[in-house]
Amino acid sequence: MNKRFLFAVALIAIVAVLPSCGKKTLKTSPVTGTITLDGAPLADANIFFTPSGGTGDQAVGKSDASGVYKIQTPQGAPGAGTTPGEYVVTITCQKVVKEAEKNAEGEIVSDEVTESAIPKKYGDPKQSGLTASVVKGDNKIDFELSSK
């Protein structure tokens, strides 16, 4: 009886240890919010989170038509957010003003021309003036940009 009991304990122990053999994943917290330019939702803007303190992982997101973004890390699932910490935030928004031109062989004669729809300072980590602190659990961080 005692032997059988030991065997059962060993089995349970093995089963308990098995799941921890998997690969390490980042413990991310979802981050979402709205980006507005002069009060109006800003669509198709890329938003970058760069850690400024000792903790955190680089993450990126893109706003949809209503200006809502969700961020993700390269290793995490799309929209999974990032790890808690202090972040510098940069935002860029490129709009196409002229399509690329091609010749008969399908080669590009002139490049596509894009312009920034927002002041360029928002795309520079030293000048953006935007910060965020990501905490454990859900985060809702809005960014209000001004075209001036």
Binding site: F48, A100, N103
Partner: protein, 383 residues
């Protein structure tokens, strides 16, 4: 009488034996499958090694490395007509054909080019972009499936071998640096003078010799695995194998390309996607034969201006079906496995502020970027 003394198996005993055998087979089958994948993977890494050694042999013959786009080998056939670019757009892989025992194929290509020159552009050249047109020739050399360019672990690549009139596929991207780049035209051309990668535009940067590989051949990537797009269903929607259009790509940090990821390994809805990754071994453009070490392996690939055509800005990520990363071959012929979790440094940084390729300093894209750039005293080790 004897019946009562004969001892048979009870039903329970039989069931227990069957259960044990079942468990053993259950344990064994995955092991067999894993062994088969291990064999495919070994073949795959061997192909990569052969490519790196082919570069070495090319160098001993020509005293230079092959160029990705407008290699000087092709300029001798130029006659100054529209179709010249069909030769200039041929890839590093095409130039390496004689060094991987495909000399007859290379002879076919050069004899067609010579005919083009002799007739002063009078005959039509086979196009590296179209699968079914051999120009004025009976044989289309670029439709040949070449085993040395195909990884046995990639199902789409293996399936492509049975396709008729499709351009031959390719699983190995040559190193074009640590940032978004284009093969020709405008700012990209200026940027290629900075040699972010090993295989650069011959028009912009001229010859590449070992002297340009300052970090040493054992510290610089030659080729990395790329997945072949599954073109049979014309499906460019899988982000590991397709390419998504991102407007203004050359003015965005590499991380922006991650935004194209949707659920279940597919691109997000509403994007324009192309199935150009690894699609043709013959051509140097749009992720067919190149990769950039900015985002970690198995990240999405993106293209900018011009979508999928020659000269478009692209950010082609390495990818494989091996799980958890991709193989790379160093220029010295050694092959290493790069994990998805490799240090990619500051992927939110667009190096140089405006356009990556114009940046001259050491790579800001971590170990991954440092392994790809041939200069800048970044002799970091991957181990």
């Amino acid at each position: 009488m004897s019946n009562s003394t004969r001892r048979g198996f009870t039903l329970v005993e039989l069931l227990v034996v069957i259960a044990i055998i079942g468990i053993l087979i259950g344990l064994l089958l995955p092991a067999v499958q894993a062994a088969r994948e291990a064999a495919r993977r070994m073949q795959c890494t061997n192909n990569m090694k052969q490519l790196a050694l082919a570069v070495q042999n090319f160098e001993s013959t020509n005293k230079r490395l092959p160029n990705q786009y407008k290699d000087e080998f092709w300029t001798r056939f130029a006659v100054g007509k529209d179709h010249d670019s069909r030769l200039y757009r041929l890839s590093v892989h095409t130039l390496l054909l004689p060094y991987i025992e495909q000399e007859p194929l290379m002879n076919t290509i050069t004899s067609y080019a010579q005919e083009w020159k002799d007739s002063n552009g009078g005959v039509d050249l086979p196009s590296p972009t179209e699968g079914d047109k051999a120009g004025d020739h009976s044989d289309h050399p670029y439709t040949k499936a070449i085993d040395a360019f195909l990884c046995p672990s990639d199902g789409a690549a293996q399936q492509s071998k049975s396709m008729v009139n499709h351009l031959g596929r390719n699983n190995y991207g040559c190193n074009m640096g640590d940032a978004c780049t284009a093969n020709d035209g405008g700012d990209a051309l200026k940027g290629q003078k900075n040699r972010r990668g090993v295989f650069v535009n011959g028009d912009a940067a001229g010859r590449t010799t070992w002297a340009h590989i300052k970090d040493g051949t054992s510290n610089t990537i030659g080729f990395a695995e790329i997945n072949v797009s599954d073109v049979i269903g014309e499906n460019g929607n899988d982000y590991k194998t397709g390419v998504a259009y991102v407007s203004g790509l050359n003015k965005l940090a590499p991380a922006a390309c991650l935004n194209t990821r949707g659920s279940n390994g597919m691109f997000a809805d509403g994007l324009t996607t192309y199935y150009q990754k690894g699609r043709r071994w013959c051509i140097s453009t749009c992720c067919s034969t190149n990769f950039m070490a900015a985002l970690p392996p198995n990240s999405p690939s993106c293209s900018g201006s011009g979508g999928q055509d020659a000269g478009t800005w692209t950010l082609c990520s390495a990818s494989s079906n091996h799980g958890g990363g991709a193989n790379v071959s160093m220029l010295d012929g050694s092959v290493r496995f790069v994990s998805e979790t490799i240090d990619c440094g500051d992927i939110n940084n667009i190096m140089g502020g405006s356009q990556d390729q114009l940046y001259k300093g050491p790579s800001l894209h971590g170990v991954w970027g440092a392994m790809a750039t041939p200069k800048g005293q970044e002799t970091v080790s991957m181990n």
